[in-house]
């Protein structure tokens, strides 16, 4: 298991300018996980993709001493020993660690408000945006399209197993009941009801046509082939 945050990362000497700091408060390291088999662990995404696609949720699992099984270690102990109970917790809860080298990155940071400095951990799809108002906290912006493509790749490469049918069926049941609810409404104007029916119908169509990346696509027939 690769868990970040061991001893910090080497920072190249930056000469007279000194090191550069991201203008944000330090945070705890984290690993990326997938809560396999749990409701909400797969969703349909569109941003940055050729069409609606089922993708696994990839979530942060914070590694901070005193939480999620993380222990404070003795000097000289290997950092990985801090995570002994964490591994057990992940295993027991059937949480899959998403091993993706280079996705979790860290950089030196300094909170412009408090001066607290340290490491800021983020995904490589994110960037820290300094606030225009110096009294406000920095924002972290994410490139959702790039992250979605990476999530699709995880499925294609088999890093994350296919979802259980019940997760997909439960999500469809919600959409069908939303459509039925919209159709059965008598307490709103006809045009409002029609718009609601159309929206619910559209959501169901997207659901039924969304690409399932765990199912290999059949090769397209060549034009003119017999």
């Amino acid at each position: 298991m690769t868990i970040p945050g061991g001893g910090g990362q080497a920072v190249p000497f930056s000469g007279l300018d000194g090191p550069s700091y991201a203008p944000i408060a330090p945070n705890a390291p984290f690993i990326l996980v997938h809560h396999a088999g749990y409701p909400g662990s797969w969703r349909i995404e569109t941003e940055g993709l050729p069409g609606p696609t089922w993708l696994p949720q990839v979530d942060r699992f914070i590694l901070s001493p005193g939480v999620n099984g993380v222990a404070t270690i003795e000097p000289g102990q290997d950092q990985s020993e801090a995570y002994t109970a964490t591994r057990e917790l992940l295993h027991k809860a059937k949480i899959v660690e998403v091993k993706a080298p280079g996705v979790v990155v860290s950089e030196l940071c300094r909170d412009p408000r408090t001066g607290a400095s340290g490491q800021h951990y983020r995904e490589r799809f994110e960037r820290v945006e300094a606030p225009a108002n110096p009294a406000a906290a920095a924002k972290v912006r994410i490139d959702r399209g790039e992250r979605n493509r990476w999530r699709a790749q995880l499925v294609a490469e088999g890093v994350i197993p296919a979802p259980h049918d019940s997760i997909i069926l439960a999500a469809r049941r919600d959409l069908v009941s939303a459509l039925e609810r919209a159709r059965g409404r008598t307490d709103v104007a006809a045009d409002v009801r029609d718009a609601q029916i159309a929206a619910a119908d559209r959501a169901l169509t997207v659901f039924d046509t969304a690409r399932k990346p765990w199912i290999p696509e059949e090769p397209k027939a060549k034009r003119g082939a017999a």
Binding site: R43, V58, S64, G66, V67, G69, K94, R144, R147, Q196
Partner: protein, 319 residues
């Protein structure tokens, strides 16, 4: 000597004889900071102490398949032999970690300061920092909750809230009390959705708005459909989403290490708050004239698992 031309003005004399500002004594205003105390708010009870246990981990045993979890078997005949039942076991852990905060002050500042922010005042402020640390640990623990509600990449809306309520109510054994801790932006999104939720008829949107107060107390954000809502900027983010969470009371708990057991040498003037796992010590370095206070906390936050009490992450866009 500075030449003061007639007429003598404040602008000319201020640099030699005046002040650029006069301080209003004894006022020292503290900047705005979220003061949600998860312990006082009843969100995070203390569940135990590892002192003298030989371990940094407190384990809670959990049992299933007995009592209300099971039925008695109907017997086919008067003399049929009944078979004995088993049960299930699991556990949840709280591992304590060490947290630290220190302040230093040089003797010369102690001599000349007139702001009242003494090293002792800074030491007493560490207790609030400890409580904030507990809050952050609680939010971090929530990242391990497996079931997610809300919609990743979309604003939190009324439909999500209905789905969250349904998730609680469809959990067998749920007894009707639920708490949510949301990022303030999630609360804003929820309020925005309430304003335009088509299904509501007057006065429902108004009542919904009124039940979501923005300042009902320290961190209390009101309640909606039976879920008490608190807000905190310590709620984590992940993949462009806020990771709020909702849970039945009792899901979270914190454990400490009794700091009254720590032998502190003479002169350190220790202040131990053993029930919080907190130890404050002082030191003075004569060579550098530096006074220092160190606050060390030995504390951890954990969750019981979802088989015991319902708990959900509440995802919505962080934008």
């Amino acid at each position: 000597m500075t030449a003061i031309n007639a007429p003598a003005t404040q602008a000319q004399t201020v640099s030699d004889w005046g002040y650029s500002a006069a301080f209003l004594q004894p006022v020292l205003l503290q900047e705005l900071a979220e003061r949600l105390n998860p312990v006082v708010a009843g969100l995070l009870p203390k569940v135990g102490d590892v002192a003298g246990s030989g371990s940094n981990t407190l384990r809670r045993r959990q049992v299933g398949g007995i009592g209300y979890s099971t039925y008695m078997a109907a017997m086919a005949t008067e003399v049929a032999a009944g078979s004995a039942s088993g049960f299930t076991s699991t556990y949840s852990d709280i591992t304590i970690g060490r947290y630290h905060l220190a302040y230093e002050e040089a003797a010369q500042r102690a001599i000349v300061q007139q702001d009242g922010l003494t090293i002792e005042a800074l030491a007493s402020a560490t207790v609030d920092s400890y409580l904030r640390t507990l809050r952050r640990l609680m939010c971090s623990s929530a990242t391990g909750i497996s079931t997610a509600k809300g919609t990743s990449g979309a604003a939190l809306d009324t439909d999500d809230w209905f789905a969250l309520v349904a998730a609680f109510e469809e959990t067998e054994g749920y007894e009707g009390s639920a708490i949510a801790i949301l990022h303030p932006e999630q609360l804003t999104d929820l309020r925005t959705s309430l304003r335009s939720y088509t299904g509501f008829q007057f006065p429902e949107p108004t009542e919904g708005q009124q039940s979501l107060g923005s300042a009902m107390g320290l961190g209390m954000g009101g309640s909606l459909l039976g879920i008490q809502i608190f807000k905190s900027v310590d709620v984590n983010s992940s993949g462009g989403d806020h990771v709020g969470f909702a849970f039945a009371p009792g899901v979270f708990g914190f454990a400490t290490g009794d700091t009254s057991r720590v032998p502190v040498p003479m002169g350190a003037e220790p202040v131990a708050l053993p029930e919080w796992g907190l130890l404050l010590t002082k030191s003075f370095a004569g060579a550098t004239t530096v006074n220092r206070v160190d606050a060390n906390a030995f504390v951890g936050v954990g969750r019981v698992n979802a088989a015991v009490l319902p708990q959900f992450r509440v995802l919505s866009i962080n934008d």
